[in-house]
């Protein structure tokens, strides 16, 4: 009985969740007069996609976004791993205080730092560059915290064994800790990529030209508020820009779900 209820509940949630997506697919493939009319035999069209593609240099924006999220992801892994390792397994004076300071970063909304960050980028001469979009996010407190928790759960015996074999500090980190934390890396990577794929305000403020603007900022071209919204073109461009993420998720669904279960991010 409870099982039936659970299944019904799960289906209802799933349907609720997927409704906006279904609506997006429906409107994107039909002429705009069918945006709010449902008719099974409405003519199908790809014109919305063509219009959306022509309205902005999306190919360039795709490239920018891809470069941006890869840059952030790689840098975050490279920076968070040693930091987390130090907090998890090394003893040095003031460790807990420093860790506390790192965690403080989680409490601060990035939007509050808009002007401060802009000033820093202006001083570095980086305004209007992809690096400037990425820079404030490279040292991720969330990543450090997450990896530290995983590293702490690695059995001390494995570390000791590696040490007996003559493995160096970096060697142990690389050969013992990182492989064991793989699910966490995947889960964190997904969270990071989807966050930065969708990030809007900071990229809008710091970019000025087509060669740096990411997809989200490019999409805002369609928010033509003075004339009401053309749902067809909006949904077509949204599908287009979120497609790589959706496809990647569907392909690696099993791995993602498993690593989320193991990493404990829910």
């Amino acid at each position: 009985m409870t099982r039936t209820l659970e299944i019904i509940g799960a289906w209802m949630l799933a349907i609720l969740w997927v409704l906006p997506l279904l609506y997006a697919v429906w409107t994107a493939f039909h002429p705009s007069e069918y945006a709010t009319n449902f008719s099974l035999f409405a003519p199908l069209t790809l014109q919305n996609f063509a219009n959306a593609w022509d309205a902005a240099p999306f190919a360039r924006y795709f490239l920018n976004t891809t470069m941006l999220v890869s840059l952030i992801l790689v840098a975050q892994f490279l920076l968070c791993t040693p930091a987390a390792f130090a907090f998890a397994r090394m003893n040095f004076p003031g460790r807990d205080i420093v860790f506390g300071i790192v965690l403080l970063q989680l409490m601060i909304m990035p939007d509050v730092l808009l002007v401060g960050n802009y000033r820093t980028m202006a001083r570095l001469g980086l305004v209007d560059s992809i690096l400037a979009i990425a820079l404030p996010y490279l040292g991720s407190a969330f990543g450090i915290f997450l990896l530290r928790q995983v590293f702490r759960s690695v059995p001390q015996e494995l570390d000791d064994a590696a040490r007996l074999e003559g493995s160096s500090l970096l060697g142990r980190m690389w050969r013992v800790y990182v492989p064991l934390a793989r699910p966490t890396y995947i889960a964190y990577g997904l969270v990071s990529v989807s966050y930065h794929w969708n990030n809007f305000l900071w990229p809008l403020v710091i970019t000025n030209s087509v060669s740096t603007r990411p997809l989200t900022v490019g999409l805002a071209v369609f928010a033509s508020t003075d004339q009401g919204i053309d749902w067809s073109i909006i949904t077509a461009s949204t599908l287009m820009t979120s497609a790589p993420l959706l496809v990647a998720f569907l392909l690696f669904q099993r791995q993602f779900v498993q690593s989320f279960m193991r990493a404990g991010i829910k």
């Binding site: 945006a35 000025n208 033509s224 004339q227």
Partner: protein, 427 residues
Amino acid sequence: MIKRRSLLAAGLALPAVARAQTVQKLSFYYPIAVGGPIPAIIEGYCKEFQAATGIEVTPVYAGNYGETLTKAVTAIKGGQGPQMAVLLAAEMHSLQDMDILVSLDEIGLDAAGKAWMEGFYPAFLANSHAEGKLWSVPFQRSTAVMYYNKAAFAEAGLDPEVFPKTWAQLQAAAAKLTKRDASGRVTRWGVKMAGDTGNAQWTFGALANQAGHVLMNQAGTEAYFNSPKAVEALSYWQGLATVHKASPDGVSNWPQLSPDFLEGNAAIIQHTTGNLTNVRTNAKFPFGVAGLPGRDGPRTVVGGGNLYFFKNATPAERMASLKFARFMSEPARAADWSIKTGYIATRPEAYETKALRDYVAGFPPADVARGFLPVAVGELSTFENQKIYAALTNNVQACLNGTKTAAAAMADTQAEADRILKPYKKA
């Protein structure tokens, strides 16, 4: 090093004329509020400006009005701001409060410059005056107009060529236009006006003007909501739904008005002239554009964005920016901008260009709004503009949703507005 030194020498050797023109680069932020290839059009103008003056203007598209404001303010505070930006005309007092603007008077208007400023429609300058100075140049301007479905008018037994001019006439027409199916469900509303956040204050600004009421003082330090005329305006809005059953109960959303109109679900909508091209392209029925009715006769409100100049620019950059503003408002360009976007050309002389004359002759609805500029007022604009908008919007929505009477809503807005504006009241 050698290279740099030789460059320096070359610079010194340049004729004096070239050196006097120190400004070579300007940047300006602009928002996009209508559909169409706006970035391409703006870039085209900037190229023409460069060809004419040698000054390179980099236009930076910055999202919608709110986002453009955020971006401009952040960049200015971060030390790399643009020299100018297109922002909402109604933000003048708030921008002044931030102390980032430079007035046109301070940049320096000569006799020709003063004559140029006088060449704009006065309604579009309504939100530019404060402290005896001019703070912005009209650029992408619009007014509220009514779009109506002529086929629906004919079907309801109304003359499609005559649009209501008074509130009473509109109420009667809207009631007739509302169509119900056998089960009593409404298949077409008579009239729809936007009451959602971000738009309620604009709709209400027009209605207050229709009742013959001005909502604020020119200095932007006082707002006047608690007046019988303002209450009357709000009651009229509410009454379209509650008394005449010609408009849906509750709050109608701006983005949904055009689709509703185009699909025949609403016979009349109150919208902006900026929507004209969209309606023209997509309407599958004959439609008309008309001025807003008023309690006694037509009245409307202006909207849209002006070009502002920022303090952080050097005197030479300010002069160059002003030159750019004048270049953009030249009749031929103002006409071109109007034809391509649907905004109203900001100067009467633009309507005397051949391009705009021909366009208007071929498409008379494009000329309707201009006729109503003499009865238009500026937008509601005060210090702490966004907070005042929020207070008004919340109360208007409460009234439309039936939780407050019009009188209570206006009294509450007044109390809130007085509290917000208290620091700005001069003793």
